[in-house]
């Protein structure tokens, strides 16, 4: 069986190493996309992809994106939790691509909670 071609991967590796200094340092925020069955059915993968594309487009280095399971509020999916270092986590509900990008830009990057999309502040941590 044919293996996926990864011949250029070494070039990519060297390119990443050259720019590695820019990518070091502590993350200032973590965004967790809830990927339970309910979240996935409601469009969580689209939210995650939109977030990854925005982070790539803007060359953002200090935001961690991760996933977790169902948060227990299936009717309000897709959901995400934003944790800015030193601040209580905030859960966002009924997300769309546009909403998550606004949350990334305003909350994760600038520290300003987007209260119109937030469900609760200070809920349980995801890690």
């Amino acid at each position: 069986m044919k293996k996926l071609k990864i011949g250029d991967l070494e070039k990519i590796r060297d390119k990443v190493r050259r720019t590695a200094n820019l990518r070091q340092g502590k993350a200032k925020a973590r965004i967790t996309i809830h990927m339970g069955t309910c979240g996935i059915a409601a469009g969580a993968r689209t939210i995650l992809t939109a977030l990854m594309q925005e982070i790539d487009k803007k060359n953002i280095k200090d935001i961690i994106i991760t996933t977790s399971g169902c948060a227990g509020l299936c009717s309000r999916e897709p959901m995400a939790t934003v944790e800015v270092t030193g601040k209580p986590p905030v859960k966002y509900v009924d997300l769309t691509k546009e909403k998550i990008i606004k949350i990334l830009n305003n909350h994760a990057l600038k520290g300003n909670i987007v209260s119109e999309y937030a469900l609760a502040i200070g809920s349980e941590r995801t890690h």
Partner: protein, 185 residues
């Protein structure tokens, strides 16, 4: 779930929740036998006999946050809608293997969807500590994608780096296009 790529993401999330470190996904599109077989194997904590016997019950879940568990039951329903079936094998401490069989040409068989998006979502968010092997066959043709091989080439560079992710995304997209062209030829 509107397509099989979302079911895959959902079942793999179960494997991740079960502590799996190696997850193998195989899709076999066999148009001659008129079957599409999806297999997901993991090395997670597995299920005991009681959990296994209830795994397809939508009103059973091991989770504490809610009382229903729809992931596997919805996949089972998707197979049955085509005249297919699902099989789950698991032992406590020995991982799990889920095989979903669909009748390929059935009008109710869900499309494959964007498998690349599912794989990239998994690698970008969980690829740092979990390895994924993806095999896709369409009749005689196919390809294999193994994050262990990729990580070996990358050495100290993380697999979730955006340059790496974009590279893998492009290559996977090309591979699926080639597979489509070859099998149409």
């Amino acid at each position: 779930m509107k397509d099989l790529s979302l079911h895959i993401l959902d079942i793999v999330e179960n494997s991740i929740a079960a502590g799996a470190k190696n997850i193998k996904i195989t899709i076999d599109e066999d148009t001659k036998k008129d079957l599409l077989i999806l297999k997901i194997q993991d090395d997670g904590k597995g299920m005991n006999k009681k959990t296994l016997s209830k795994a397809l019950d939508p009103f059973f879940t091991t989770k504490k946050v809610r009382r229903i568990g729809l992931g596997l039951s919805m996949l089972a329903q998707a197979t049955r809608e085509t005249g297919g079936s699902i099989d789950i094998k698991s032992k406590k401490g020995e991982g799990a293997c889920i095989t979903a069989i669909f009748v390929y040409s059935h009008i109710d068989r869900k499309p494959l969807g964007d498998i690349t998006e599912t794989l990239i979502s998994l690698i970008a968010t969980r690829g740092f500590d979990i390895d994924f092997i993806y095999k896709h066959y369409k009749n005689k043709h196919g390809f294999i994608f193994d994050t262990k091989v990729i990580k070996k080439k990358l050495k100290d560079v993380p697999v979730y780096n955006t340059l790496v992710i974009n590279y893998l995304k492009n290559n996977l997209t090309k591979e699926f296009e080639k597979l489509k062209k070859r099998s149409n030829a």
